[in-house]
Symmetry: C2
Subunit: 141 residues, 2 copies
Amino acid sequence: MNNQIDCDIRQSLDKISSRMRRDYNESLREINLYVGQDNLLCRLWESDGITQMQLCEHLKCEPPTVTNMVKSLEQNGFISRKRDQQDARVMRIYLTEKGRDLQASVKLKWKQQQDKLLHSFSPEERLALRDVMDRMERNLY
Amino acid sequence: MNNQIDCDIRQSLDKISSRMRRDYNESLREINLYVGQDNLLCRLWESDGITQMQLCEHLKCEPPTVTNMVKSLEQNGFISRKRDQQDARVMRIYLTEKGRDLQASVKLKWKQQQDKLLHSFSPEERLALRDVMDRMERNLY
DNA sequence: GTGATACATTTAGTCTGCTAAATATATTTT
DNA sequence: AAAATATATTTAGCAGACTAAATGTATCAC
């Protein structure tokens, strides 16, 4: 209950997430994606044709980040960009066939990563953890 | 206990850590540091004059990452680099006065971030969380 | 309808990360 | 002693993420 414990949790979370990110990125390289791009694609699997601003909101990142991600994904043929007809300021992002096809393999990778992280956690423990995570998340806002 | 819950934990962790990282980086800007540099400095506060390879191991990152971080920290006057006398391949990193002085303010920021994240968590809950984090960490290796 | 303001995106430049390949110094093998 | 190998670091180039400033387009007020 001293500072030592407090300090470790902060750093622990940091270690876990950076390790996950690293492993996950490595795994995604098999299907020619980088970590983060999967989330952007996921947004499109749920609602194809949304704007870059909407992507920003969902991904909780800034406009220049989306510009760069979108540029890279377009160059690799996973998405295409079209200017909105009504509002010429807006860019709408659409999945290509290639981008659509990634859904199954990405979701499998999510599951694999999840299984590794929570290996040996019972269903009850997972529910409790879910609850704790939500509390932490709320604390950050 | 279905896939939905599993999936959320993976993503939750990701959200929490990226949000923390973002907030933390913003907070560190007040003392002219970027997120990650605090950890490198922390290593030096504990053992000044270690080599870049030792920093790699502690920070769990690759040599080029350390090269860049060290270069930036040197340019901002927080550390200095000296070639080892015995082995001319190795670079030893030393804190400057300016780097040494940051210790107190960084540790305060750690505490503040920790307090925010775990606000409303009882000591018992923190201990339990500590345990859960360790289990997850072990699962990733 | 012109001018001010708001909004979406891009550009330029910074950081932490990474990999692959180059460089420099040490050590080991033959 | 020369060649091969190992080790430490750097360089170059890519990714996500950021800020600040520029560009292009809409809208709103007068």
